[in-house]
Amino acid sequence: MANLLSIAIRSAWHRRMTLGLTLVAIALSVALLLGIERIRHDARESFAQSVSGTDLVVGARTSPVQLVLYTVFRIGDATNNIRWDSVKKLAAHPMVAWTVPLSLGDSHRGYAVLGTTTAYFAHFRYGEGRSLAMAQGRRFDGLFEAVIGAEVAAKLGYRVGDRIVLNHGAGEMTGTAHEDKPFVVTGILQRTGTPVDRTIHVTLEAIEAIHLDWAGGAPIPGMAIPQEFVRKFDLTPKSVTGVLVGLHNRAAVFRVQRQVNEFKDEPLLAVMPGVALSQLWGMLDMLERALLLVSGMVVVVSLAGLVAVVLAGLNERRRELALLRSVGAHPGQVLLLLVFEGLLVTAGASVLGIGLLAAASVLLGPLTEAHFGIGLRTLAMSADEWKLVGAVIAAGMAASIVPGLRAYRLSLADGLSPRQ
């Protein structure tokens, strides 16, 4: 075995030009396969960790996926709000440690505006329990102050101290501007890779204030309350879109969830964000599988190239195979020699592919992070990635059985003297 392997190594090295080209092709396909797997994994990870540390998300009764879509991802609109006194009752529940009310509906140049309290900065967690941190400036303190996500700041070129005007309604072009009540950017959050990056955070009271002179989604004609007078009004919100809830004891989550769902005053829905997120991801499963399938097919094509190259070279090696037989190699060992060759090429290609991916991660990671929020930060191989590499090498060896069988038949037929 060791003898055959060393012969296979030297034989492959002897044909390093042709095999090298095939090796590079396989290496690229391995890098693609692993890259897709890594992006898939990182995307799933950052998706699943868009919110963490929150035990329940509470909103008006709707589907769990929809509730998470608009409270966590700011996608779509809430069909109903929950009343403020329900929020207060929830906060007073003995098992509830903290609540973060969320009020959505306005936007700024396509980015969602979130009305909340400073509890948001204290309790919101993403990733593996990471809390939000300021890149510049400070949290909102006053009424017309805003804290913007990293992507908002980067894409729109905002800095601390800039003034921005919010629009009523979501989306790029919709709604009427709250022109009379501009906000000052007091802080910019560090990049999180979550929807927080695409959010403008203001106080709940500010949301209330800019809608004082509004009714039914439009300014009330003839009524305009100047910015400096809004403080004279009661700015306690009447309703919010949703509430993030943290419990003293996570074990109580099912009990609290049931109690919220059976709340008498108004129909509410409490969902565990992890469950809803994985339901949501399940919908994207097909796409994810399709991507992996395509990259798998690229690997198969590159392995077919290997088989073709080795098969094509086999006729010129008949003399070599006959010589090996004359010094005692069995046809079975000749087959094994070809399989070892496939092993060598695919193993070498895998090493090169892993290297290529690492290089690409280092070089392109900052770019993909900025554009897609996927950092490609991991350089270490995961168990799943090793499994894929193992599968590629196994497939390479299996594919090499094709030229191996051809060599087996040639060496049986040729014996000691090939008829060339």
Binding site: N3, R10, V327, G328, A329, H330, L416
Partner: protein
């Protein structure tokens, strides 16, 4: 026949090669390629086997090598009927007991001179053991044989493609002889050499076969070389199939 002879007189040496009423044809329905009543090569003999191309030389060598089996009769090496061995065991038996030198392209291009010589030791424990019997490592033994065959140490680690044809044939001879196989089969080993080098190669080969105690079967179409051998056999005379084919 051979086994019967051996039973009658146990002291008689066992032939290195014995063919007994061997018939072979490539395919059912084709005429016989070989039909040899009997042939025995005794230890220490230097046999010169000649025959024109197409007289069945390659087929005979494939039978001796255990690559092919006769449809009738037996081919025995050192008293072992090759038919009694499995295909894998015949491959092993071949490398354990027989060295081969071919007409040309004898060497594996991606191995060094020394590694080419060491190849039988990789596949045969017996050859490896016998190569090291004198206390040498296999590599030392290979170097010794190469030196005996006039190949300077400077050449031993060169790629074989850097060698002349004559040098390559001597490397092939060293490979066939390493580990003292009982039998060396040389198939037109001098055909690719010019007349001057033919004689030189033959001298070295015979000298080394004597030194290693190896029985030699030398196949050639060139009868001018026959004088150096103990016995000359014309394949056309022992092969009845050839005569029938011509008639």
């Amino acid at each position: 026949m051979v086994t019967a002879m051996a039973a009658e007189s146990p002291a008689a040496p066992v032939p290195v090669l014995a063919l007994d009423r061997v018939r072979f044809r490539w395919k059912r329905g084709l005429p016989l390629t070989l039909d040899i009543g009997g042939l025995a090569v005794m230890p220490g003999e230097r046999i010169f086997l000649h025959g024109p191309s197409g007289s069945g030389k390659s087929t005979l060598l494939a039978l001796i090598g255990g690559i092919l089996l006769p449809e009738e009769g037996s081919v025995s090496l050192l008293g072992t009927d090759l038919r009694s061995l499995s295909a894998g065991a015949r491959d092993q038996f071949r490398v354990d007991h027989v060295g081969f030198v071919f007409q040309q392209f004898n060497l594996i291009p991606y191995l060094s001179v020394l590694d080419n010589v060491l190849l039988p030791c990789r596949f045969s424990k017996r050859r490896r053991t016998q190569a090291t019997a004198a206390g040498n490592t296999p590599a030392q033994e290979a170097a010794r044989l190469l030196g005996d065959l006039d190949l300077a140490p400077a050449l031993h680690h060169r790629p074989v493609t850097a060698l002349s044809v004559g040098q390559q044939q001597r490397v092939a001879a060293a490979r066939a002889l390493i580990g003292r196989p009982e039998f060396l089969v040389a198939d037109e080993p001098t055909s690719a050499l010019d007349a001057e080098r033919q004689a030189g190669f033959l001298d070295l080969l015979l000298r080394e076969c004597d030194a290693e105690g190896t029985t030699l079967l030398f196949v050639s179409h060139d009868r001018r070389l026959a004088g150096a051998f103990t016995r000359e056999i014309a394949l056309g005379e022992i092969n009845a199939a050839g005569r029938q084919g011509e008639a």
